[in-house]
Symmetry: C2
């Protein structure tokens, strides 16, 4: 085994509301096998990182309620490598805490943050991109991976690439300085982005030296940085629970994009490594259907499913026979206590159903 | 209690394939509560007939496999009033046997045949029409009830009314001589039928004197008549099982329409009593949806159902929450072992799904 490329941080959170009734509070997206691979998204994330981190090179940050299931799914994950949050405080607190803990354990290593609930079809392309990102990170940049957009998606934010990064001879063949980040655009804007050739999808992956990240944080969000430092100092000692319980609830809730990536990009400190790797955030059932197959897909036992005149249907059976007749693009998700019937076209509106169940107090279904 | 108007014959058969997965071989349509009334279609049929027949005035003809469940649903039905067929031999054998048994028990009484799996919203209109039909039947006609067509349906056969029936003073204010029967027409033909004002839907109800029916049968189908006579002679004695087992399997399979109604109409022996009574044969889920409500319907616990952007949806829950999003006219039928998802528009094609299951040998689902 050669030197690890980086220490990985895997924030494992998010409700996956638009994937209800598959995804539930107690069993969110990252804990599910959504590709039929026999491995959950979380497991696949760690599988993918293993060649880059070596054994024991990943920490998972997740809600305390999911800690037991995460350990069950990742038997090789050390007790110390699961950082359990008492309650979610958004991505900056999660990633910042992990970076601070890793800095105290290992010094100013390169860390990389990779969400636990994304799908990447081409692991080799992913590995190549992360290796280059780590190289650029060593030079002091905050580095993101920019996904080659193959269609003008309105579901993702974009990162705009500028001039090539100059590392003075070190190998960074594709990295570019980031000119800025954008929120999810409307369709016309997305078309325009695509036409320029400068925009990539922001997959929310960040690679950076631990000290660089903490310095940026201290500058941009000093109170949050101080709180995380206090917790990190106590993390591997006897005071963890006391400090965590006292400090964590008061931490600012903010995404890493807003806290650091955007302000640092504004002064040229962020780089992007473009990559095509079959990435998807599995944001809704339309996305899931595309991942599983272009034209008609079953997640589960295909022997249970009959479709007729229903091209592009996605069916998730749960032990019973499911017959779908005459609904192209149908989405039928069967679970023991709840059934969803919709179409790919309405995939984004599934959240509305969950909102209604929430309003009705049907918490047992959430 | 006044004199009964007629003795009723209720053929309880038919697979109801287009209502799968609600309707199954072991639990066909007539054994189900399809209106949410708390009474099955069979029970409602007998409820409706009670004022016309008086107690004990109905015989049910059904498959031997359904005999136990029919008795369970109809605890007041006498053992002798359930005629169990060893196997289905179509409607002429079923109705002919019942008429022959009733003729032997009661003489040349008026009998009326009414399917066990139809819905009639206006019981008073039904009763009025049957009373008139019985009056006309006493004069020797084979009388059918003709449903006022409120749209040019292609799902029903039609009966064409001709001149008024003249009973020489007896009250038959609306009855007309039948000029002929037609099979299910195409849409253009159905439009034409409606425009003439002469056509009614053939609801398959026949009212006739037992002896008249048997005489027609003897003339049109002498072998079938002889077979039924042999069985009827033995029915209420010790030889029933032996004679039934020997004769029944060889009986001709033919519908009463073809065996008698059409040829007898051709020589002026059939009359029709027109009636508007909210009749429906509940032939498929589109029909069921219309019966339950014009615009969105739940058969079962409505508290389990959430619909959004799905006008006219029909949902049949089975204990689990069902969410339907963005599919107008959706039909979602949940059962413990099978789920159907389709639309009203495709209701007629549900049979194709059952055919596929049959071809796959999935008999446990049929």
């Amino acid at each position: 085994m050669t030197e690890p490329v980086l220490h990985a941080i895997v924030p494992a959170g998010g409700a996956g509301t638009r994937l209800w009734p598959l995804s539930r509070r107690a069993a969110p997206k990252f804990l599910l096998d959504l590709t039929g691979a026999g491995r959950t998204l979380l497991q696949q994330t760690l599988d993918r990182l293993a060649p880059l981190t070596g054994p024991g090179g990943t920490v998972v940050v997740t809600g305390a309620v999911h800690a037991e299931e995460v350990h069950r799914q990742l038997p090789d994950l050390g007790e110390a490598d699961l950082l359990a949050e008492p309650a979610p405080r958004d991505s900056m607190a999660a990633i910042g805490l992990a970076a601070a803990v890793l800095q105290r354990r290992h010094g100013d290593v390169v860390v990389g943050s990779f969400a636990a609930d994304h799908v990447i079809a081409d692991g080799t392309a992913f590995e190549r991109a992360v290796r280059e990102a780590a190289e650029v990170a060593r030079a002091g940049y905050l580095v993101t991976i920019g996904i080659e957009a193959d269609h003008p998606s309105t579901a993702f934010g974009y990162v705009r690439a500028g001039d090539p990064v100059d590392l003075g001879g070190a190998p960074a063949p594709t990295a570019r300085v980031v000119r800025g980040f954008t929120e999810k655009p409307d369709a016309a804007t997305a078309e325009r982005y695509l036409a320029t050739g400068e925009y990539r999808w922001n997959a929310g992956m960040f690679v950076v030296r631990a000290q660089v990240l903490l310095d940026h944080l201290a500058e941009q969000r000093p109170e949050l940085a101080a709180g995380l430092a206090e917790i990190a100092d106590a993390w591997d000692g006897p005071a963890r629970a006391e400090v965590l319980g006292r400090v964590w609830p008061g931490l600012e809730k903010i995404a890493i994009d807003h806290a650091i990536a955007e302000p640092v990009a504004a002064r040229g400190g962020v780089a992007v490594v473009p990559a095509a790797m079959g990435w998807d955030d599995v944001g809704d059932f339309a996305s899931l259907a595309s991942i599983l197959a272009g034209d008609g897909a079953v997640l589960g036992d295909a022997g249970l499913v009959i479709t007729e005149a229903s091209d592009g249907a996605l069916v998730v059976p749960a032990g019973r026979t499911v017959a779908v007749l005459g609904i192209p693009g149908a989405v039928v998700v069967d679970t023991p206590d709840a059934l969803l019937v919709t179409t790919r076209e309405h995939a984004q509106r599934v959240k509305g159903v969950v909102d209604r169940l929430t309003a009705q107090g049907r918490t047992e279904l959430l």
